[in-house]
Symmetry: D2
Subunit: 441 residues, 4 copies
């Protein structure tokens, strides 16, 4: 059952007509270079019977613009200044994206002035000191070996006016924004304000989310690396669990709204007995609740491994006002510690001895350098972001759709979050692997 | 420029009508399970303007059958016997596939008799002893932690008649064949002979090729793991190269007909200066030939890293009759050692001292256990292979197309090999990363 | 300044005279085998001027018995039954020790009956079910690939009387005990009780402590693996710290009484700015206290990495009664969380924004399989434990002293803990690497 | 049976009296620093009955000088210039040594001028261009993350006169030489020539040998890392071997004269059936020869793993004149390829089908960055080398003896190579693990 996406506007805004010959036309005469034509697109929905129904009903087939180099570009590379900023939490591959942006701009298009804004959106704001670094190939050549971001990052919004003032003052032609949901929203606002002021500044986002939860982004960069490492924590939990009589290993993984890391890590190391994600409700108490089912599991097998996404079970904190984090997201209740207490309390109350080990590997995972697969993926994302920006596209993000690189309007991507469909084969595979029942009374 | 695939027959043959209720319908009443309808399909070509032209010209849109569980199945699980065989060279993930086949058959469908044939197709042939192992969950529970194949493997064809005699004698209802191009051809013949004899035996292939070169298979399992490990050898070559004056690191990677591993590994660790693949011709001698270009590189940078796919430069062996290997493939000339000799000879002739280190990591790569990504992928491939077999489909392979699991007729997959298009953005990215010119005079 | 050890009794008790020809004498006639003579010993103190002073003063030179096979053994292997038990927390290499004990007993000495007691000392106690597993080579052949312990473990003492009753009832000739300080004390008591009852049961300990804190044990098994992995957490902390403005990465590592893991991990990845260990007192407040020094560090460098051993700074909990854990050790205050709160509170109070990331990788570290070095080390420890037991030695542990395998009386090893000497070159190297001042006012 | 070392001169030559107060005396007033006194030494032989016999016979107890900082030093740090050179093959940890030398000289002693000579001894010779790099902390801060050597290396001797001319011209006060046997011999000659000319230049060697074969060096840096990685190749060989009927995996490991890597890697992953080392002769033909024993192994188990050190079986090349390599060492016959041919030929001759996979991981191993253990070890070696050089010691190497850092006269270390004693418990453990018989007729 594949999701059908409807009623969207897939057109990408442009700053103006692209009239300049791309330097790629002449750059390497010995090698053929394919250019993307403006009518090249990828269908959004590609399954039958949907497509035939659309045709029968004479409805248009939705399609995304193909990413890639254009013959004609909007900006004159010799005069162009670009900016790069990284926002929000760490994720494997950010430095790969920075590196590939700089390499493509500098070597392929000949753009020589590239600024890195320090510490996320704070880097645009005078009161934080407005720190810039000039990015040249030598400076970024080896940064893909490092986790984190060499530009630094921060959370939370900043005044859009001030950001655009800075872009204007520095005469930035393309701003590349690497960030998650909040950053995409900021990018949309910046792009609106830029257009309102009549500035010639393209805003191109490279979506970053270790939770893999951005709508219309099939797989976010760093996700693969994160899943691989998350299985290590599960292995540790399993080793601890089987080493003790009634041993329980509990692992909290990232995933505020979507349980992708929890689900994929469960499939990546098949030793998990319970996977709890935000998309699927569960009870603690009662015959079918987690505690009782866990008890039965221990009695039959003497150990259990539980993986919980950080956003799972938020209903248990419904009566608490946790406020919001600097990014403006509502703060989550700490489901990991909550489960530790509830499980300990329950087994103490029934006088059943257990040994519970709790593992939270989040920072170890998100600070990793990218694995080879993510290195490659980040490289393509960044190259396509540069092609798009040079062509004068704006208010868009680069994404991979049906394995093909495309342009997606930011406003379309922020309409909702990508989550796990509890009726999907992905979730069903998780249930088969864990053997867990519905944990609802 | 995305390839357009035309004129193919995408219909999957069936052994007969599927009339039995799937055990999945009732197995887990607490959990919703989605079933695939027979009209669910994925378009083969998904880009514009192609699709619109087809519609305008009233030509049908090609589509592949969706993989997944069916409500009605062909085989009665309680009476069914299945066979599994692994053929050809090692590849990360084979044991994952075996494990997931057994788990899905046994736990989900309730098939209790599953034979593993030992040492590839030899396992069907009486003169080799016809060794079988009975596969049950306990026996395969941890094999995904191991590289290689617990069933053993061998190369080369065996008598189709004898294979089908064995299938008939053992009353095998579904034969799962894990193998590459040669195995797919054998599977097609076995399936033909089975149908000719009127046997009720489904033949389902799970395509295995570390070279990632099977037509209509977007990415073969194990490829990801292989690329990750291949970058290690490139790192070693780079370290050796920069440690010596005029140091050259030469790495031979797998890829008989297709340079995918060489290309992706080059993008996965951006320290390669020359990537040589079967799809792109190159000269050794002359102003633009590798030797002279290498000399210029050394003079300016004092070191160089070369990655060569094993099937590159076979024109240099055109005058030699190398015979065929046990699989019937023409033997390749050893381009790695050939380059070692040519490079050493050339620099000796011009009295330029060099230090050349040659690394061949093939067996270390192909014998690895799968990484998390490949673990997951193998699991889905195997589950879908079981769904297809249970539904009575035959002469097909499971694949991923536009990121969706599908059924592909074997005869369609063996019509040609998947290769790197020298005009693709993949190859262009390699050229940008290495900086290598066309090596043709 | 190397420590001088004095006034100890190094003699190992024996169950009786060893009169039986070792099976090693005749086992492999094609290969020469060296046997240890009873007068072979290793000096305890090996530095000048100490040794010469002893000689001058006609005092004896202390020495430990050499470990290794003896020509004559005490037990008849064909009649001997052995037991193995693993106690306390996990540590890389426990399964290696179990495996090597079984392999050496079974294959080399021909002992066919080896019992594994489940879940630590609980395995001897009838009320817990007294679960046994029979250990044969096939069962343990691959367990060294796994972390944890296949026998399970538990904490805390059990009735010595009951343990010896079980040994007596099962007619155990050699009991191999793998455990830490508490286990060593239990081993001493068991051995006393065994001798008191006149049983012929040898008690041989293989010291296990991930903290590396057992007196007279130069390096405990698993320590190497633990340090390697601990550097990963430090790398994560560093990546997080530099990615934020005034970023602080705080890592809590194991080390209740001794800071060896913290110190070695600091030297193993030289990105730590403050290393806090139990052996070296530090203040929080005041001009030289951690908080103020940390502030100065942030102001000059904008990030800091802190490593704290779990037993550091216990003075801050002096007013709290934390009770004891099941092993009877006093519970430690959670210095990690304490520092998180104190640091956050301090910087909030001075209105200096910081970003603090706290990482506790303990379970991920201790559940690892051994690295190659520890695999090898565990193998030698276990082989020497078997040689000692077969020779009728008892109340001893196997250790490595000046890189030579020796027998050490358990009572000698439990007289004190091994700790880091704050005047040693080890600690000085840590101070040089971190650049941290004395954190005392 | 521990080796007894006799009749050696352990005294370290000095350039002159050390009269200058060490900057360490005053550098960190808040921290206590221990200094080594000149009479502090470690016994060379530490086992009984040897030591007591020496005492009884009134013979002196041999001892090595302790390494570490002295109160008084010879060189004035503010005026001192130092040089560093790396020679011979790669080995994990070279960059760690370079880094720690620079850090200790610069930060601890205050030496500001440190030259790195490029490409080994060639860096001293005018005709090669005499390339120097100035080494400062910022330049070396992260090099320990990289394998290889940032200074480059080369093989082979150079004119001692020219080397000393360069030292004289540059006014080098301490030359740190990182290299193996050949480099130690060169260091001895350089030091002789320096003294002959009356120059004030100390020559301090840090012994480097991945083979771990330097006399009086208990374990050479990088060895641990090498063994760990070598087990990966063995795992690959084992996976390949068991995947084929009569599968043979053959791994060639480093070890020209000593089989330490082969032996330790065998113990580090217990899947090897034959370990062949230079120290233990073996036959190919005949009833007890490798080929016939291998045949019997295959007939009973259907697979076999062989590890061969590169220097094993050189008697098979006795009739060939292989010349010498640039370092002047006799070239070895390629035992790996020789065994491949002999094994294939033998089984072809007896018409027994086999599948042989040959793996040579040498360059992948030696180009690795150091693991944590080697990082730490390299740091201590380098710090002690600096202390020694600053004190005016010369013609010595730093080593670890009975786990204590010491000074060893170079001339003593080059008197012979360290090899595996075939009667040692190390070799016996290898034989027990592999189960291999004596392969001699």
């Amino acid at each position: 059952m594949l999701e059908i996406i409807e009623k969207v506007e897939t057109k990408i805004p442009c700053l103006g007509p692209a009239k300049i010959d791309s330097p790629l036309l002449t750059r390497r005469s010995d090698i053929f270079r394919h250019f993307i034509e403006e009518d090249e697109q990828v269908l959004v929905n590609i399954t039958q019977p949907h497509v035939n129904e659309q045709i029968k009903n004479k409805r248009p087939l939705l399609a995304f613009e193909l990413a890639g180099p254009r013959r004609k570009i909007y900006f004159d590379p010799t005069k162009l200044k670009c900016g790069i900023v990284t926002c929000g939490g760490l994720c494997p591959g950010i430095n790969d994206v920075i590196r590939a942006l700089v390499m493509e701009l500098y070597h392929v298009y000949g753009v020589k002035t590239i600024y890195g804004f320090k510490y996320g959106l704070e880097g645009f704001i005078p009161k934080y000191g407005n720190e810039l670094v000039e990015l040249v190939p030598a400076r970024v050549a080896n940064i893909h070996e490092l986790g984190g971001t060499v530009l630094g990052t921060s959370r939370g919004p900043q005044e859009i006016e001030e950001i655009v003032d800075t872009l204007d003052r520095l005469n930035i032609g393309i701003l590349f924004m690497i960030g998650g949901d909040g950053t995409l929203r900021a990018a949309a606002k910046i792009s609106d304000e830029v257009l309102r002021r009549g500035l010639k500044c393209s805003v191109i986002a490279i979506p970053k989310t270790i939770d893999n939860d951005i709508h219309l982004v099939e797989k976010s960069f760093g996700f693969d690396t994160a899943v691989e490492k998350a299985t290590e924590a599960i292995r540790a939990a399993h080793t601890e669990a089987i080493a003790a009589y009634n041993g329980i290993g509990l692992v909290k993984l990232m995933g505020r709204f979507s349980g992708f890391i929890a689900a994929y890590a469960t499939l990546g190391l098949r030793e998990v007995n319970f996977t709890l994600i935000p998309e699927v409700d569960f009870d603690l108490e009662g015959e079918s609740g987690l505690l009782e089912v866990l008890r039965r599991r221990l009695e039959s097998r003497r150990h259990a491994v539980i993986v919980v996404a950080e956003g799972a079970g938020q209903k248990f904190f419904a009566d608490q006002d946790l406020g919001t984090d600097p990014s403006g997201n509502p703060r989550l209740g700490d489901i990991g510690k909550f489960l530790v207490e509830k499980i300990k309390g329950y087994f103490a109350s029934i006088k059943m001895p257990i040994t519970l080990k709790y593992i939270d590997p989040s920072y170890i995972i998100r600070s990793l350098p990218a694995n080879a697969n993510d290195h490659i993926y980040c490289g393509f994302l960044a190259q396509n972001a540069v092609h798009a920006g040079m062509a004068g596209k704006t208010a868009m993000l680069v994404s991979c759709w049906h394995n093909i690189y495309v342009h997606i309007p930011i406003k379309m991507a922020v309409t909702k979050r990508k989550t796990i469909d509890p009726n999907s084969s992905l979730w069903f595979s998780v249930l088969e692997t864990t053997g867990q029942p519905s944990l609802k009374n």
